[in-house]
């Protein structure tokens, strides 16, 4: 039977004559996005609103008792709890150490691995593999490697005459150790983003600049780097947010120690909520973290707009 020819004109559906075409299209659209929207509202917006409410209560998880305390939790965190500012300081140090190091290394790797040469796929895989490795396994293996005298890292250093520190038991070194191991774990992701961005830049730009007599450094600084701007912004935002949210790595490698030297905000929130069972206070801290991350993101966006 030959197919019925289509006229290209959408007619009113005889079964739903009371619906206009616009209404029917809208209804179909809502039906399509409905499941996703419901999930978003229930599992994202709902908890977000709930956290605002929780943050204004004194809620003991174990006893299941909640009392409204207004802004008392915020007041306590910001003005009365000295540990809070220590934790914020640690989080800022972690982010300041991790974000530039991660981005610089990712860019360097991307520049090296964006060209075609024999074995490039192997090297890309090697640097990307830690991203898909279990965070738990990664942290535990590094904890073993970074043991005091018996650790692999220190034994290697001893071969070249360096007496390595007890990496995870000395506050300053512990922070450095968690930053470096975190960067090695996550740099592959940013590397791939940069490789994609580099490969999207037409080669003509570079060729034209070269014809004009530009050096490699000038080509990078004046041609490549500005064109990488949008990608750099995305990487900076997600890496900064990720650095403030770091939890598993700290939990498994140092437990926030030694001497609270690696006690960062996300881990501190976890301790308040899931060790002391003080859900109200933990929620207030989570809201503060939300605001910090949002402000940092807006600042980065503003800086980017100013630059362009």
């Amino acid at each position: 039977m030959p197919a019925k020819p289509t006229t290209g004109i959408v007619t009113q559906d005889a079964s739903t004559p009371w619906l206009t075409l616009k209404m029917r299209e809208a209804m179909e659209a809502w039906l399509f996005i409905g499941p996703t929207l419901a999930g978003f509202l229930i599992f994202f917006i709902g908890p977000l609103i709930a956290v605002v409410w929780y943050s204004m209560t004194e809620w003991n998880l174990l006893a299941q008792q909640a009392t409204f305390v207004g802004l008392d939790n915020y007041d306590d965190a910001l003005f009365r709890n000295p540990d809070f500012w220590l934790v914020v300081r640690n989080s800022v140090i972690f982010a300041l150490g991790l974000v530039p190091f991660n981005m610089a290394l990712a860019l360097a790797l991307a520049i090296s691995l964006s060209r075609r040469f024999v074995g490039v796929v192997f090297f890309r895989t090697v640097f990307f593999a830690p991203v898909v490795t279990s965070a738990v396994a990664w942290a535990i293996v590094w904890k073993f490697l970074l043991q005091g005298e018996a650790g692999f890292v220190n034994q290697m250093l001893a071969h070249i005459g360096i007496n390595g520190p007890n990496w995870l038991r000395e506050p300053d070194w512990a922070m450095a150790a968690v930053i470096v191991t975190r960067v090695i774990k996550m740099v592959g992701l940013n590397m791939i983003l940069y490789i994609a961005a580099l490969q999207a830049i037409p080669r003509d730009y570079e060729a034209a600049a070269r014809l004009e007599g530009a050096s490699n450094w000038q080509i990078f600084r004046l041609v490549i780097w500005p064109l990488l701007g949008p990608t750099t912004l995305v990487i900076m935002v997600i890496t900064t947010i990720g650095s403030f949210k770091v939890f598993d790595h700290i939990y498994l490698m140092t437990g926030g120690g030694p001497e609270n030297g690696t006690l960062v905000l996300a881990f501190y929130i976890y301790k308040q909520g899931f060790e002391f069972f003080d859900v109200g206070y933990a929620s207030a801290l989570a809201m503060i973290m939300f605001v910090i991350v949002m402000v940092l993101t807006l600042v980065q966006l503003a800086l980017r707009r100013r630059d362009t």
Binding site: A63, G255, E275, F276, F277
Partner: protein, 414 residues
């Protein structure tokens, strides 16, 4: 018509089977242990419970010890409460104060032949408040020294059990043999409990020597870490870690159970790990000190949760699990708080891996020991202590100043 009758009869039979199945009840019981021998014994209690409750089965659910209290709390808060469970001593006051533990006294008083008075009064301290019974101590397990006999022989040293028999097993001798063991065998002389003495087992690391020196971590709401006895005890440990280098230091892995440390401190429930150890071993009492003999006891109880759906049934099972007969069976792994079992010959011969003479050490320690400190703010106290204790474990640390800092941090919480 005939087919229809058969179909009807089959449906009725199926419905009967299904309805009898749904009338069976299952109790959910959380425990920290995943050890095969422990679970076999616990399942045995569930099996014998069927004699009085044929339709009831008990499912033991293992939660690893490091996360035990936390995950249990989430289950209670998240509307998925177990009916009954194991509870560590440090969590007992917090849980009791939060009102999540059911009073099991009425059930125990009515249980035939239970004899609640058989339980040692000091052992019940954490679990009772006037006539209310929040739980029954199921493991009243003193800390003992596990030693690797092969390493002692290799070093040509008398083992701790022999030294204890001669009355020469004290803190000074402990330091001396640990040092010699490290020097002669190259293995660590001593490892803190489960290798966690600098992290999750701070109390287990510091408490025994402090009590041996006659001190305490706190008493009557007053911090004891900065008292001279505690300072002397911790100074000795510090010297052993950094001067003698005989204790596994922070940031290193030792592992007594795989033969890398000659001594450790633990409870007899860990003896089940020694079956395949591959070396000769034994247990000995904790070394004495200026404070005399001062055994330290770790305790756990079994409790019924108020949020559980089958509280009465769970209480019945707790009564069954802690009757004299079952406590005697459990004694091989979990030393009892029932005096009749503790004083029986059956107790000292209960553990296949530990000779009777060594089990007498356990019985003796239970009689003389004091339970580890508990507090309803235990998690906060430990968190407040942790950074100050971290500072203590630096090679150049001033022990007295560090312990003073510990007291300053925890005193407001006590």
């Amino acid at each position: 018509m005939k087919t229809a009758t058969i179909a009807l009869a089959a449906s009725a039979l199926a419905l009967t089977i299904m309805s009898s199945h749904t009338s069976a009840e299952e109790l959910r019981f959380t425990v920290w242990t995943g050890n095969e021998a422990h679970l076999k014994m616990l399942n045995g209690f569930a099996e014998s419970f069927k004699a009085s409750h044929p339709d009831v089965s008990v499912k033991f659910e293992t939660i690893p010890p490091a996360d035990y209290t936390q995950k249990l709390t989430f289950q209670l808060a998240g509307g998925n409460p177990p009916d009954a469970g194991w509870l560590m001593e440090d969590a007992a006051p917090t849980f009791a104060n939060a009102g999540v533990l059911e009073d099991v006294a009425p059930t125990l008083n009515q249980a035939q032949g239970y004899n609640f008075a058989d339980f040692s009064k000091p052992a019940l301290g954490l679990w009772t408040a006037s006539d209310t019974v929040y739980g029954i101590p199921f493991s009243t397990s003193p800390f003992v020294i596990f030693y690797n006999k092969d390493l002692f022989d290799k070093a040509g040293l008398e083992d701790p059990l022999a030294l204890a028999a001669k009355g020469e097993w004290d803190m000074a001798r402990f330091q001396e043999v640990a040092k010699k063991l490290k020097e002669t065998t190259g293995k660590w002389g001593f490892e803190f409990k489960d290798g966690q003495g600098y992290d999750s087992r701070i109390m287990h690391a510091l408490m025994p020597p402090i009590r041996a020196y006659g001190g305490d971590v706190w008493a009557n709401k007053e911090c004891g870490f900065d008292k001279p006895e505690a300072v002397a005890a911790v100074q000795q440990l510090h010297d052993m870690v950094f001067k003698d280098q005989s204790i596994v230091p922070p940031g290193e892995q030792g592992d007594y159970f795989s033969g890398n440390a000659a001594m450790t401190i633990n409870q007899i429930s860990r003896a089940s790990l020694m079956e395949k150890a591959g070396f000769k071993w034994g247990i000995a009492p904790l070394p004495t000190g200026p404070g005399g003999e001062s055994p330290v006891i770790g305790q756990a109880g079994i409790v019924v949760f108020t949020a559980g759906k089958q509280k009465q049934l769970a209480a019945d099972f707790v009564a069954h699990m802690t009757n004299a007969e079952n406590v005697a069976i459990a004694a091989q792994f979990f030393p009892p708080a029932r005096t009749s079992v503790l004083e029986s010959d059956a107790f000292v011969t209960s553990n296949k891996l530990i000779p009777a003479e060594q089990m007498k050490i356990v019985a003796d320690a239970i009689a003389k020991g004091k339970v580890l400190p508990s507090h309803d703010k235990s998690p906060q106290i430990l968190t407040a202590m942790k950074p100050r204790v971290d500072a203590l474990w630096r090679p150049d640390a001033n022990v007295e100043a560090s312990l003073k800092a510990v007291c300053e941090a925890i005193q407001p919480l006590l």
